[in-house]
């Protein structure tokens, strides 16, 4: 490589790296009163352990909180104080039993204040259904806990969808039905049941400009039944429109879980297909996933429950690993990286400089991927993945440098030593990276939750590490080697002088 070309490349690469570094780590600031600059690190999604999230408590009908009970008592006392209305209101103390932190209505208890078997069975069933729904949603980390025996506490990380919609949708009780009755009527006309006989499963599909769609995959019987009901609906709509001379002939099909509307779709013709895509209401993948999870859970009869769950209060909670755990981790990793880069420069000089550039490229590309790829969530496991892939990248660069050094010590020229050193480390570098990529891919595709998210980050880290070790650092080394006059000293090598006898 010529000197001029090398200078141009060094300037170009430095500018790009500095630019990316600025975009990645600069703290957020306001560009103008309305516009805020957010660094790439600030838009990374975190799990509940590093970023906190939302929690809610599901209260089954017949179970109320202390504050709700206090309000009933207050209302009762106010009403009782007014002589005209004193007989109109019941004393809550006569209708509720205190049980730990909650109050149980007499409708779910016997005379001694013990819950009825029916309520207990329904509550257990609701709890299991919620567990299935949250598990199916596959958060980086979440928790479902029983609180005070008869309420359910759910904690999830921050998501792009509305937390209230998420918690409310997961609380839907009852069977899945397809109906032509709109939401204004309580009693729904069931055209088709949404059960395992008719529906295989529901998933999420990309709907282009419409955002995302919920894909309902029918069984053979389900496809036939759905084709039949949609044909009937379209026919009825067209006969209505011809009788009323209206121009519109589209029908609407509604999907309910119990009495709650899950989604609706307009039909202009009969749909005879294995998969039906319903889009229009889902701007984020997460919101479509939530509906798909509810549908999937109702396909198993064991997950259908019939008590209503109330989720009126949703709270935000701090990261479980400490209020500023993510910031502390980022600073700690930054300090370590700086120490490692300084060590590398001191130990390997010119080769160390190539490693600094190579490592920065690796780190910045990884930050770009983590912050911009939808669906990557960094939790404590993710931190491990980042640390391991960074350590592997550094180790392989140093391993190559050590091989170059040993080749040079064997009497080869610098250029030949670099070639031979890289050649020597090539097979092992490729083998190890292939193994790690394959293993992390297996973990990603089979496991769930924490490990799945961790594997995805490690998979990306390994691929970037392979590229940076095998090609980019080597390229940087050649780029820098074009500059110094004494290339041997630049690489911190010493040629031992041999005395001529």
């Amino acid at each position: 490589m010529g000197k001029k070309k090398s200078v141009a490349l060094i300037i170009l690469v430095t500018v790009v790296l500095v630019g990316l570094l600025f975009l990645s780590v600069t703290p957020s600031f306001y560009v103008s009163t309305a516009q805020k600059f957010n660094s790439l690190l600030s838009i990374v999604d975190f799990g509940t352990d590093l970023g906190g999230g939302y929690y809610t408590v599901y209260y089954p009908e017949g179970v109320i909180s202390r504050s709700e009970y206090d309000m009933l008592v207050e209302e009762y006392e106010e009403t009782k104080a007014t002589p005209e209305t004193s007989d109109d209101v019941d004393n809550p103390a006569e209708h509720y039993f205190r049980k730990g932190g909650v109050y149980l209505s007499e409708t779910v208890c016997d005379a001694e204040g013990n819950v009825t078997e029916t309520f207990q069975a329904e509550f257990d069933s609701a709890f299991n259904a919620l567990k299935v729904r949250f598990e199916d949603k596959n958060f980086a980390d979440y928790s479902i806990k029983k609180q005070d025996d008869y309420t359910i506490r759910a904690e999830v990380p921050y998501t792009d969808e509305s937390a209230s919609t998420l918690f409310e949708s997961f609380a839907y009780s009852g069977n899945l039905i397809f109906s032509d009755t709109d939401t204004s009527t309580t009693k729904k006309n069931v055209l088709m049941s949404g059960n395992a006989e008719y529906i295989k499963d529901a998933s999420v599909a990309n709907a282009g400009e419409d955002g995302y769609a919920v894909a309902i995959n029918f069984t053979k019987a389900g496809r036939a039944k759905f084709a039949e009901i949609t044909a009937d609906l379209v026919e009825a709509a067209s006969s209505d429109s011809s009788s009323s001379s209206s121009s519109s002939s589209s029908a609407t099909i509604y999907m309910y879980v119990g009495t709650e509307l899950l989604m609706q779709a307009s039909l202009s013709n009969a749909l005879d297909q294995d998969t039906v895509y319903i889009s229009g209401s889902y701007s984020t993948r997460e919101s479509a996933e939530t509906i798909a999870c509810v549908i999937n859970s109702t396909l198993d009869e064991n997950n259908v429950f019939n008590i209503q769950l109330d989720t009126s209060d949703i709270y935000e909670f701090a990261p479980t690993m400490g209020e500023h755990a993510a910031l502390a981790a980022a600073i700690a990793i930054g300090v370590l990286v700086l120490a490692m880069l300084i060590f590398s420069l001191v130990r390997y000089k010119g080769m160390g400089l190539a490693h600094v550039y190579g490592f920065l490229t690796y780190a910045l590309v990884l930050i770009l991927c983590i912050s911009l790829i939808d669906g990557i969530v960094v939790n404590a496991g993710g931190l491990l993945a980042i640390i391991l892939s960074a350590a592997i990248m550094t180790s392989f660069n140093w391993y190559a440098f050590a091989n170059i050094r040993s080749e040079f010590a064997g009497g080869k020229t610098l250029t030949a030593s670099i070639k031979a050193g890289y050649k020597k480390s090539l097979a092992l570098t490729i083998d190890v990276h292939i193994v790690l990529v394959v293993l992390s891919a297996i973990l990603y595709f089979i496991s769930l939750g924490t490990v799945q998210y961790m594997s995805l980050i490690f998979l990306l880290g390994s691929v970037i590490s392979a590229a940076c070790t095998l090609a980019i650092t080597r390229f940087y080394l050649y780029m820098f080697l074009a500059q110094p006059k004494n290339k041997i000293a630049f690489c911190n090598f010493k040629r031992e002088e041999t005395e001529d006898e």
Binding site: A163, A325, L327, A328, A332
Partner: protein, 344 residues
């Protein structure tokens, strides 16, 4: 030199590993893992309001201090205090997590509610409500099983890849070492009662990955050595010992980099929240287990395998004079019986 991979060293490694695994299994069997704050059942006293705390920090601080003092006076130990803000901004709560399940909390929260009204300024404005909750954790079996299956498949793939690209013996050793490292990490964490949460399953998977990496680094060096003219004819144990000694530096460099990261993050964790410290400690254990395994345990196992395979190969390659003579006699028509007696 070959002491590190001798039969005695393998025996010592096996004893260490077995003792740790059995002890860890016993502790796990009787007590399970030591769940951290996110995994334990707990009782908490919750003081909530209609959102006043969110916009008046002084009120929140005085309410928190007052409640902490009252709870302590009531004879309860507070393990942690957490402030939660309503997502809609319409309410907020302070949760005082108790160290043990408190007795007589019905009366205590009633008394605390009255005390707040009289003891904290503006409490009536904030509409403060006091209650307590018993929270029971639920295990995540599906999540654990899926990860276990994934780890098993990954270990088998590691074996297949190492068997093809390196040697069958190395693949077999890498498989044993991977299983060993994961189990040892789990056992030591159970044994030392390090508090762990759901994320700990990530450490187990991480342990598998780091084990694969470190063992392949050592096997890579062995593979190169066994092809070189200088070392290919060395006795199995000596060759392996030399390769281990040569790759020690690379393995230690990686281990030190990882350990330094865990120590620094652990220290940061001790400042911001103890859970991060415990988590990093488990990560550090995985690094130690994998380093020990790649430099001591796995080479010692592979030395036995290689020694046997070398002996077999040598046996096969040995020139068989007896059969050669027998063949030539047979060709000349001499009975085989005589040849046998001759070779005696």
């Amino acid at each position: 030199m070959s002491k590190t991979v001798s039969k005695k060293s393998l025996f010592v490694c096996l004893i260490i590993s077995l003792v740790l695994i059995i002890a860890g299994a016993f502790v796990f069997g009787f007590l399970g893992f030591n769940g951290n704050a996110t995994m334990d059942d707990y009782t908490s006293i919750e003081v909530s309001d209609s959102g006043y705390m969110a916009f008046d920090d002084n009120f929140r601080a005085s309410l928190q201090d007052f409640c902490s003092a009252e709870i302590e006076k009531g004879g309860y130990d507070v393990a942690a205090v957490k402030y939660n803000q309503s997502a809609s901004g319409a309410g907020s709560s302070i949760s005082f997590r108790l160290s043990d399940s408190g007795e007589g909390l019905d009366e205590f929260v009633d008394a605390l509610s009255i005390a707040i009204d009289s003891g904290v300024e503006n409490a009536e404005l904030a509409v403060v409500s006091v209650t307590y909750h018993n929270v029971q954790n639920e295990a995540y079996y599906d999540f654990i099983w899926r990860t276990a299956v994934a780890a098993a498949v990954a270990a088998v793939v590691l074996f297949i890849y190492a068997a093809i690209r390196f040697k069958v013996g190395m693949g077999f050793t890498a498989l044993i070492a991977a299983v060993h490292d994961v189990v040892i990490t789990l056992a030591v964490v159970a044994l030392l009662r390090v508090p762990v949460g759901v994320a700990f399953i990530g450490v187990a998977a991480y342990s598998l990955l780091i084990s694969a990496f470190m063992n392949l680094m050592v096997f890579g060096k062995m593979r190169r050595d066994f092809r070189s003219d200088e070392r290919k004819n060395l006795p199995a144990r000596e060759g392996i010992a030399l390769a281990v000694a040569d790759s020690r530096k690379t393995v230690f460099v990686t281990a030190i980099l990882l350990a330094a990261a865990f120590v620094v993050l652990g220290v940061a964790g001790a400042v911001v929240g103890i859970e991060l410290l415990w988590f990093m400690l488990t990560g550090l254990m995985a690094v130690i287990a994998s380093t020990y395994s790649s430099l001591c345990f796995a080479p010692a196992i592979y030395a036995c395998i290689k020694e046997k395979s070398d002996a077999k190969r040598a046996e096969k390659a040995k020139y068989n004079y007896a059969s050669d003579k027998q063949k030539s006699k047979e060709a000349k028509g001499v009975p085989a019986q005589e040849v046998v007696s001759e070779t005696k």
